[in-house]
Amino acid sequence: MTDDILRMRGITKTFPGVKALQDVTLSVRRGEIHAICGENGAGKSTLMKVLSGVHPHGSYTGEIVFDGQPCSFSSIRDSEQLGIVIIHQELALVQQLSIAENIFLGNEKASRGLIDWNRTNHAAAELLRRVGLRENPVTPVVDIGVGKQQLVEIAKALSKEVKLLILDEPTAALNDEDSAHLLDLLRGLRDEGITSVIISHKLNEITEIADSITIIRDGRTIETLDVHGGQVTEDRIISGMVGRDLEHRFPPHESHVGDEVLRIEDWTVHNPAQGGRRVVDGANLVLRRGEIVGLAGLMGAGRTELAMSVFGRSWGTGISGRLVKDGKEIHLKNVQDAIANGIAYVSEDRKRYGLNLIEDIKRNVSAAGLPKLAKRGWVNENEEFSVAERYRKSMNIKAPSVLTTTGTLSGGNQQKVVLSKWIFTDPDVLILDEPTRGIDVGAKYEIYTIINELAAEGKAVLVISSELPELLGLCDRIYALSEGRITGEVERAEATQERLMQYMTKGQEQRP
C-alpha cells in the first residue's frame, strides 16, 4: 500500500457551456514532488482551484480525500487550515508591504489585536533562512526581484505549516538561475517531508525534479507516470499531452499563397513590469497574402507580447527590429498608425481588450473604423447601422438586432463582433490572438470558416493559439515560439503536434 496524502476521485467541474474537468482522478503520495502536465486549457489550474477551495464544495462533483479525511472546502481558508497552500502563477503579494508583513498577512503575529513586530520580523527571518533568501524582512516586496518574491510566497506557505504545496507555473517568469534555486528548494522541502504539486510547461524541469507525473488532457486524466519506475522522457510526456486525433473540426481550406505582405525582422521586446526582462528575442516572421500562419507557443512564450508590440507598440518597452510592409519599411508608433497601415489585432481577452460591453453591437463594430463612417467629423448613423447590420448577417451574429448590448452575447457571438470591427477597417494583415478561446465547438467552426474566407480574400492572417490541433487544422505554415525566440517553422504538410511541442518546449540551454 502506498501512503497517499491526497486522493481526488471523479472530479467533474462545469462552467457555463464548458466541461472543464471530467471525472478526473489524482493521487499524490506523501513526501513526493508530483508534476501535472497538460496543454493550456487542459484543466490543470481548474483542478488545483477545486483542490484549494477556490471553487467551493458543491460547485463540482467528486470527492477529495486529504490525509485520510474526506474534505469539503468552501473557501481557500478551509484548505489552508489543513495545510494545503497554493501559490498562483501571478504572485499574490502586496507590493508596498514588507516581506515580513506579506508572510504573515491574514495570519498576523499579534496579541490582543496589536501586532508584535519583533516576533513578526524574527519569525520571518527564520522562514527566509529556510527558503535561502538573504533579505531583510522589513524590505518592501516591491524592491526585490520576481524570483525572490517567489521565495517569499514559499516562506509564506511554510508559515502556515504547509503539508501540501501547490505551485502553478512557478518558474514561468524566472530566469535560469532563479529557477534552479527554486527547484533546489523544492527538493529540500521534500526532504523535510513536505509534498509538492507542481504545474509546469517546462518539461525539462519536470523530468529533472518530479517523482511522478500526471497528464491531463481535455479535462480528463490520461495517465500517471512514475519517473523512478522507468525512463520518462520529454517525448513520452508530449505524446501523452497531445495524443488526440483530429476530427472533422475544420472547414476545408485551399491555400492560394501570394506575395509577402508583412515581414517582421529581428523583433525584440522587453517587459516593462519585470525589470525589463526580454520577452521577445530577435524574432523573424514572414506573412504572405492569402496565407494563414500559425504562431504556437506555451504560456509565457511571448506570443501576445510579440503580436501587441507589432500592433503599434501597444505593449512592451525597448522594442527594436524592423517591420517591412509590402516591401517598404514602416514605423508604427501607435495603434492609429497600425490601423492606417492595414494591420488589425484581435485580442485574446475580448472582454477586457476587445469590446465595450455596455455598448451595442453597432457601436462596437464601428469602434475602430469610425472615421470611415464620418464626414468632417460627423458620423452617419444610418450608414453605421447598415454596416453593422451587414456584418450581423454575414458573420451570423446571433442577436435580435444590432442594438443588442454586446455584454449579453455569448462568447462566440462576441468574438464575431470583434472580428467584424477589425474586418471593417479593411486590413491587409489580421493578427488573431486565441480567436476561439472560451468558445463552443459549433461557433469555433464558424470562426474557422471566417478565417478561411479572410485568407481567400487575399488577407494575411496570423493565428496565435494554444491549441495545437487548431493550428494544424487551420494553418498553412506554423511558427513555434519558445522563451521569446522563434524555435521552429513548419509547413502544413510536415506539421505534427509532437514536432511542434518539441520546438515549443525547446529551452535556451538545449539550443546549439
Binding site: G354, A367, V379, S386, P400, T408
Partner: protein
C-alpha cells in the same frame, strides 16, 4: 419575447439570444430597453406634478418658471461639461473655483480695466480654456487621477480668485453682461392676447412654434432616412404621440414664459448648448469616442482611439464652459466675489449622476444631465416655495442623489446578474 433574454447560465450559443426573427415594423426592444434612461424623465415629471400640487400651482406660474431657468442656468452649463467628463470616466472637482476665478477675471477686465464687454468675455473664455488645458495636461499626459488634479485645482483657483480680487467683491458689471445673465429678449413684435391667459409676447410664441415645427421636421426626416436604410422605427401612432407630447410640453413652457416677460437670454444660450452638445455626443466622431474611452479604456486604446487627446480636450471644454458659467453667475450677482461658485461642482456632478450617468463611466446623456439639474432645481424651488428650511432641502437633494445612483446600480446588477 423578453428584453433581456439571458438565462442564469448565460446565453448559450444559439440559445435564448438566438436568431429570434424580428418582424419588420415592430420593435420589441425600443420601448423597453430605455427604461433605465427614460426613468429619469418620468421621475422629473412626477416631481414637477408633486410640487405643483404642494405649491397650489405656484411652481408653474410664468415668473417662477423663468426664475428656475435663470437661477440654475450656470449649474446646467456646468452639468453639460461635467457629463462629458463623467462619461469618459473622470471627475472635475474644481468647477466651482473655476467659475469664481473666471468671474473675477471678467470683473477685473470690464470694471477695473474698462475693456469692452465682448473682448472681456472672449478673454475670459480663453482663460477658462487655459485652465482646462492645465488640468487636462496633468490628467491626460501626466497620468494623475482627475480627482487629485481637480482637487488641487479647487484650491489653486480659489486662491487665484482671492488674489485677483484682492479679497473683495468687484462690480458692477456692464449692462450687456447683466442682460446675458438676467435679462430677456426685447419684445420686438409686441404682445398678443391669449384669451383667458392674458397677454403674451408674440416673438416668444413665434420662436416656440418655429422650434416645435423644426423639431417635428427633423424627426420626420430622420425617420424617413432610417426607413430608407431598412431600419426599424416607431410605428406611426407612437411617433406622432412622441412628437405631439414633446411639442405640447415645449409650447406650454413657452406660453408661460411669453406671459411673464419674454425668453431669458440664458435660456437661448442653454438651448443652443444643449442642442450642440447633444449632437456632439451622439453624432460626432469625437463625442462617440468619449463613450468608447469611458466604456472600456483598453479596448478603445486598441481600437485606435487617441485616449489622451480626448481626455485633454474634454477638460479644455470644461474650462470654457466653467468660464461661461463664471461670467453669467458674476453678471447675475452684478459682482465677482471671492466665495462665488462655492460647491457648484457638487451640484453639477449630482445633476450628471441623477441624469443617468454611470459611476464607472461610458454612460450618460447631455439631456439626462440637464434633466438631473432641473430635478434638483425644481426640488430647490418647490421646497422654498412651501417654506421648507434649507437643511431639509439639502437632505432631500442628498437622498435623491443616492436614490438615483442606487437605481442605476440596481438596474445594472439585474442586467449583469447572468454574467
Amino acid at each position: 419575447m423578453s428584453t433581456t433574454p439571458v438565462t442564469a447560465d448565460g446565453p448559450a450559443e444559439g440559445g435564448p439570444t438566438g436568431d429570434a426573427p424580428v418582424a419588420p415594423g415592430t420593435s420589441p426592444r425600443r420601448f423597453t430597453i430605455n427604461v433605465r434612461q427614460s426613468g429619469i424623465y418620468v421621475a422629473f415629471a412626477l416631481i414637477v406634478v408633486l410640487f405643483t400640487v404642494l405649491t397650489d400651482g405656484a411652481l408653474l406660474q410664468p415668473q417662477n418658471i423663468s426664475n428656475i431657468i435663470v437661477q440654475n442656468s450656470y449649474i446646467l452649463i456646468l452639468a453639460i461639461g461635467m457629463i462629458l467628463i463623467i462619461i469618459a470616466g473622470h471627475i472635475d472637482l474644481s468647477a466651482g473655483s473655476v467659475v469664481a476665478v473666471t468671474g473675477a477675471i471678467c470683473a477685473v477686465l470690464t470694471v477695473n480695466m474698462d475693456v469692452a464687454w465682448p473682448i472681456a468675455v472672449a478673454i475670459t473664455l480663453v482663460a477658462g480654456a487655459a485652465i482646462g488645458a492645465w488640468q487636462g495636461f496633468w490628467i491626460a499626459y501626466f497620468g494623475i487621477p482627475a480627482f487629485i488634479v481637480t482637487l488641487a485645482g479647487m484650491l489653486v483657483f480659489r486662491a487665484l480668485t482671492m488674489t485677483v480680487l484682492g479679497n473683495q467683491g468687484i462690480g458692477p458689471f456692464p449692462d450687456q453682461i447683466r442682460t446675458l445673465s438676467n435679462g430677456f429678449i426685447e419684445s420686438y413684435l409686441g404682445n398678443i392676447g391669449l384669451g383667458p391667459l392674458g397677454g403674451a409676447d408674440l416673438l416668444t410664441l413665434v420662436v416656440g412654434v418655429v422650434l416645435v415645427a423644426g423639431f417635428a421636421l427633423t424627426q420626420w426626416r430622420a425617420r424617413k432616412a432610417r426607413l430608407g436604410y431598412n431600419q426599424i422605427v416607431d410605428p406611426m401612432p407612437v411617433f406622432l404621440l412622441k412628437i405631439g407630447l414633446a411639442g405640447v410640453i415645449v409650447m406650454a413652457v413657452i406660453v408661460q414664459l411669453a406671459r411673464f416677460k419674454n425668453l431669458p437670454w440664458v435660456l437661448v444660450l442653454l438651448a443652443v448648448l444643449v442642442l450642440g452638445y447633444s449632437l456632439l455626443t451622439t453624432r460626432a466622431v469625437f463625442g462617440r469616442r468619449i463613450y468608447a474611452v469611458g466604456g472600456n479604456l483598453q479596448a478603445a486604446t486598441l481600437s485606435g482611439v487617441k485616449v489622451k487627446s480626448i481626455t485633454f480636450w474634454i477638460f479644455v471644454n470644461m474650462g470654457v464652459l466653467a468660464a461661461l458659467a463664471g461670467v453669467i453667475f458674476a453678471g447675475r450677482l452684478n459682482q465677482a466675489g471671492p466665495t462665488a461658485g462655492n460647491a457648484f461642482e457638487l451640484d453639477a456632478i449630482a445633476a450628471a449622476f441623477i441624469g443617468g450617468a454611470a459611476v464607472q463611466g461610458g454612460v450618460g446623456k447631455v439631456v439626462g444631465a440637464i434633466t438631473g439639474g432641473l430635478i434638483m432645481a425644481v426640488i430647490n424651488n418647490g421646497m422654498s416655495l412651501i417654506g421648507a428650511p434649507s437643511e431639509r432641502v439639502m437632505l432631500v437633494k442628498g437622498l435623491v442623489l443616492l436614490a438615483a445612483v442606487a437605481y442605476d446600480v440596481w438596474t445594472k446588477r439585474r442586467a449583469g446578474a447572468a454574467h
